[in-house]
């Protein structure tokens, strides 16, 4: 009797052996980034309605361009059919309207320019974008088919949302108009040199940053003279009209802007 019970017990162990979990059917579906890369998310989606694509533990998402890699710490529980996974930066998680990320990734995880994002070695899951494809306007995202649309991150719990990043605000100026007279001419280059070597501070150092490298130095004077006299590149925006610095990131000030 005991033997029979044990035999039954041993056989019953066989019947409860877990099914093998898959992981082939997750794809990188949508990506989003702010202009400085601090707010980013990667949304993955189970493509095909399979309920057992839970075996992601030990697999990873990798950026070919930055070399950054996120390893999934464990496999999933629950049905995966048409579900999403959300990998995002901490700054994204703090935004109003953002669904809670399933996983936190570092800032600038993927490139703002061109990149290929791999999910483990599953070639069909990869997402690639070329220079200029990834929107950085704080509103739109890029999907795996190259479509740009309003971001719509969804997490594994099914919570969806959308984030809107407020564009940087700052004084309006014309880049290169170092002397604040409303135009660009040789006098602006002279003003930059006066500030550097004559101790005459610029009224709007932001405008003196002709080449937009976030510093006002001799390279700005050279950039401006090259533009004026040897057909060099025009100053980056805001130019030739008044406007805000669209790229931000500068610590230069504009104490007495000439623009309205």
């Amino acid at each position: 009797m005991i033997i029979r019970s044990l035999l039954a017990c041993a056989l019953s162990l066989c019947l409860v052996s877990p099914a093998v979990a898959g992981s082939h059917l997750w794809q990188i579906n949508e990506i989003f980034s702010s202009a400085d890369g601090t707010v980013q998310f990667i949304e993955m989606r189970e493509c095909c309605g399979a309920p057992s694509e839970t075996g992601i533990g030990g697999k990873w998402v990798l950026s070919d361009a930055t070399g950054m890699q996120f390893d999934f710490p464990a496999s999933l529980t629950g049905s995966t059919a048409n579900m999403h996974l959300l990998l995002a930066t901490a700054a994204f998680a703090a935004l109003p309207g953002a669904p809670t990320p399933d996983y936190i990734i570092p800032e600038n995880f993927f490139s703002l320019d061109a990149d290929t994002l791999d999910y483990w070695f599953y070639a069909g899951a990869t997402m690639t974008y070329t220079s200029g494809q990834l929107p950085l306007d704080g509103l739109n995202s890029l999907d795996r088919n190259g479509v740009v649309e309003v971001n719509s991150p969804t997490n594994f719990a099914g919570d969806s949302g959308s984030v809107t990043l407020t564009p940087p605000t700052g004084p309006e100026f014309i880049r290169g108009d170092a002397n604040q007279n409303g135009g660009i001419e040789i006098a602006d280059a002279v003003s930059i040199l006066d500030a550097l070597f004559g101790g005459v501070p610029l009224a709007c150092a932001l405008a003196g940053d002709s080449n937009d490298d976030n510093s006002a130095d001799i390279s700005d004077a050279i950039f401006e003279l090259t533009y004026l006299f040897v057909s060099g590149a025009a100053p980056p925006a805001p130019f030739p009209a008044c406007g805000e610095d669209p790229t931000g990131g500068s610590t230069l000030t504009c104490d007495t802007p000439a623009c309205p």
């Binding site: 005991i2 041993a10 056989l11 066989c14 290929t116 069909g124």
Partner: protein, 223 residues
């Protein structure tokens, strides 16, 4: 004391049976089932017999892992790398045609073809995750020793036997020479990946998929 030994023996026997049973349960259970259908098509001589490593015979014929003996097979080729074997996932999968992720997959599903974007293949109503497993699905796994023709019984991994009108890729038999030659190309790539795995497992997986190895940073050409 004797009864304790008997109990221990029974538990061990039961647990050994578990690994075999788990494998067959999985094959019989929907999503990952297709190997079973291939095996059930086998001639009686190829059906596993009541032997301690029966599961391995079945695993060899259905591109699966034999947990009892700790070996994994694709087309009869042993795949020592667990990572590579998991990537291959070389048996068929049931799927819902209406939930396929792209137009290429839907077209391939309708024509028993390959999706260029996802590199998935569709054959006999099942989904395969690589060109290799898709092509192997065009043939029929068999044990050569059961064939009457001595040429066909040869041990070369990839041969064509005019007398039998059969080609072999590993333990998979083909009757279409075009499919046979396509399968040879993919099989030889797999053999190269198995060799690479002995040095770098991730390189082998990247090589198979035509991706970048995150460790060695080598990018392998897309196939």
């Amino acid at each position: 004391m004797k009864s304790l030994s008997l109990i221990a023996l029974l538990v061990v026997v039961g647990l050994l049976g578990c690994t075999e049973r788990a494998s067959t349960n999985e094959e019989a259970s929907g999503a990952n089932a297709p190997g079973a259908s291939l095996a059930s098509d086998l001639p009686a001589a190829d059906q596993p017999t009541a032997h301690a490593c029966d599961g391995c015979a079945l695993a060899r014929l259905s591109n699966r892992e034999c947990k009892t003996c700790g070996v994994r097979y694709v087309a009869g080729l042993e795949i020592p790398s667990e990572m590579l074997f998991e990537l291959l996932d070389a048996h068929g999968h049931t799927y819902n045609p209406s939930s396929l992720p792209c137009q290429g997959c839907r077209e391939a599903s309708a024509t028993n073809g390959l999706c260029a974007e996802h590199r998935w293949g569709f054959a006999k109503g099942q989904l395969y995750f690589s060109k290799l497993s898709y092509l192997l699905a065009q043939g029929k796994p068999q044990t050569r020793e059961t064939l009457p023709c001595t040429t066909c019984q040869g041990s070369d991994a990839t041969i064509w036997c005019d007398r039998c009108g059969h080609g072999w890729v590993g333990n998979v038999a083909f009757t279409d020479p075009v499919q046979h030659s396509q399968a040879i190309e993919e099989y030889e790539h797999l053999v190269a990946c198995v060799e690479t795995a002995a040095v770098c497992e991730k390189c082998a997986a990247a090589k198979f998929s035509g991706m970048k190895c995150p460790t060695c940073k080598t990018t392998y050409p897309r196939r």
